[in-house]
Amino acid sequence: MALKTKTSTRIGVTILGWGIALWLFFPIFWMILTSFKSEVQAISTPPKLFFMPTLSSYAEVFERANYWHFALNTVIVSVGATAIAIALAVPAAYSMAFMPSKRTRGTLLWMLSTRMLPPVGVLVPIYILARNTHLLDTCTGLAIVDMLTNLPIIVWMLYTFFREVPAPILEAGRMDGATRWQEMTLVLLPLALPGIASTALLSLILCWNEAFWSLNLTSSHAAPLTAFIASFSSPEGLFFGKLSAASTLAVAPILVFGWISQKQLVRGLTFGAVK
């Protein structure tokens, strides 16, 4: 009886899991499906699930815009912002995790509070700063802003991972004559690597999908894939097929990357630094 109940619970949970997964994936599935439809098929009511697929939307997208230019900018900005953010966040999280002061808690909360302000609230000052420093429409400018936007979350995540590293291990390193720098790079980092990797992956995904600053701080030279997608939205005309094709092309690299690295991501996010 107990075995029967256990089996039925397991089946129920499996069905529920699959149901939620499919529900979450459905918009992406529909976007990919629409990208293979003609514009007329894309707007047909009721929507068509079975149709003769066409690559015409992809052909038009590639004809109208230089996809590789936008993709390269996205890679530069995402990787650059993530690398700088990790480089700054590791020492910050290290000091807060292992040398806390009475203000550490408050500092952490203050850092997180900067995420609570709508970005548009600081658009004008950041735009003026970017203009005055000649960083408008540059990958550097966008990478700095993306890095600063994600820094609070990265510091928080790393702080949580570092707190799980037992302090005696670091102490042992110091006993052996390690300097602070060596203690951090040679002892702490290898131990917290899964956590750092998953934090970096999350930062990469957030930078890849960032649209507000991309649309406001770049125009052509440094425009990333989010700007590429936005350029296919039309105020007058049918564009759902082309927009879906552009969106599919934009999310495909990060989707594949996320799929390949999901094991690392899940491990880092769920288990912490030390097993």
Binding site: T45, G80, L136, S220, S234, P235, E236
Partner: protein, 442 residues
């Protein structure tokens, strides 16, 4: 130690990459950056611009295509802060007089070969402020009634040469077939100054309503406004598609093109799209009629033009003017006709386009469009004197915000969150407040 070395190398490489991106972003001399929207005519312009570059080898064109609202925001920020990121901007006749008064646009003085008199007078005037021209029209549009000839025939109806709104309502009632997802009338319902309020402002004009009196006091609680909204709300509720508050121009275009609308009153630019069998399932069943008239029957009429202007912040004003003159010239229209066919020629700007027999043959809706634009008078008289110009908008900077705010209130009447009276009272209060805050009204 090896770790440290590789980390340092990676950081150096990253620094070099990012620094490189700064250097590459420095705008090269002779490069014009053009901000535009993703409309069909703009896409054609971009494709054919290689001809311009061939003819002007010292000028390179750099295109930035943005969503309409993002474009407005970006261009406004760029010009107001004198950043000089854009040399040519695509703007409408709402922005041109306002921006010209702010001193944001360069005066345009085309040479005789451009033939300024060939530009339709209503369009030319809409881009002029204080007697000076500040933009050149790329294409223009007015308002028209699209209807399904087959549905009318089936219901034994005939569209009059000049329909009235009462007739339109009767026709819509008769052809509505909700079980088969055929809706008698489709109108803009998505909130926004350029969406539902463009249509409703135009509707209000012909019902004898207006936004403000001569002292800039809003008149939104007038009987004429009540009649306007009552017609709009009752027509959409009885004969409109479900979820009308989500439907803007594109959504209604999709509904009509897929055979779900009997009548659609909207921009003339949809004609070319509805007539194209590649984009429309009802291409051979579309009929055209002038925009319906309401009880007042007169009033300012809808006119919109997408135009090319040169911001004063541009560092390459002369080259930019050379480009916009080329892109709006007679020769450009001929180039489009030769490469893409006459049906793709930019509509609504030049008399010579409508004088070409090939165009009239290729675009059966051409005479309706020409007539709608020729007779369009955005500065026409309202029932009472008014202190502003514009037909589907009020040509003041505050309108983007108050139009969108009132648009949301109007949308609330469609979704039964408010009655028409409540919506108009609320709109009156919010518009009064906004104009007081801006200092325009006391």
């Amino acid at each position: 130690m090896r770790h440290l070395k590789s980390t340092r190398t990676a950081l150096c490489a990253l620094g070099a990459l990012l620094a490189g991106s700064v250097l590459s972003s420095a705008q090269a001399a002779g490069t014009l950056t053009i901000a535009t929207v993703n409309n069909g005519d703009m896409i054609v312009m971009r494709q054919l611009s290689t001809e311009f570059e061939k003819a002007h080898p010292d000028i390179h064109l750099n295109w930035v295509t943005l969503e309409e609202n993002v474009l407005r925001q970006r261009v406004t920020t760029d010009i107001a802060m004198k950043t000089g990121q854009f040399d040519v901007v695509t703007i409408g006749n709402y922005e041109v007089p306002i921006w010209a008064k702010q001193g944001w646009l360069t005066e345009i003085k085309p040479d005789d070969a451009y033939d300024m008199n060939d530009i339709l007078p209503s369009v030319r005037e809409s881009l002029t402020a204080d007697g000076k021209l500040y933009a050149l029209p790329f294409y223009a549009e007015s308002v028209i009634t699209y209807y399904r000839k087959d549905l009318f025939q089936k219901a034994g109806l005939t569209m009059p040469e000049q329909p009235t709104y009462d007739q339109i309502r009767q026709f819509a009632d008769k052809i509505t077939d909700k079980p088969n997802q055929v809706y008698g009338i489709c109108l803009r319902g998505k909130p926004g100054w350029g969406e539902n309020m463009a249509y409703i402002s135009s509707l209000a004009n012909t019902f004898g309503a207006q936004w403000f009196d001569m002292s800039w006091k809003p008149t939104l609680t007038s009987d004429a406004w009540k009649a306007t909204l009552n017609w709009y709300v009752s027509a959409l509720k009885a004969d409109g598609p479900p979820g009308a508050t989500s439907n803007g121009f594109n959504e209604n275009l999709a509904l009509f093109a897929s055979g779900h609308c009997g009548i659609w009153i909207d921009s003339t630019v949809a004609g070319g799209l509805l007539f194209d069998p590649k984009q429309s399932q009802v291409a051979d069943k579309v009929g055209f009629a002038p925009a319906p008239k309401g009880p007042y029957g007169k009033g300012p009429t809808w006119l919109w033009s997408w135009s090319l202007a040169v911001p004063v912040s541009s560092h390459q004003s002369a080259d930019a003017q050379t480009f916009i003159t080329w892109a709006t010239s007679k020769d450009y229209v001929k180039l489009v006709a030769a490469r893409k066919g006459w049906v793709a020629a930019p509509p609504g700007t030049r008399a010579s386009t409508y004088a070409a027999p090939e165009y009239l043959k290729a675009a059966p809706f051409a005479s309706f469009v020409l007539n709608a634009i020729k007779t369009a008078d955005p500065n026409g008289p309202t029932a009472q004197p008014r202190p502003y110009t514009g037909a589907q908008f009020v040509a003041i900077p505050e309108f983007q915000s108050i139009g969108t705010q009132v648009g949301q209130t109007v949308a609330a009447t469609l979704s039964d969150q408010m009655t028409v009276d409540q919506a108009l009272t609320s709109a009156q209060a919010s518009v009064t407040r906004a104009l007081r805050q801006s200092g325009r009204a006391r």
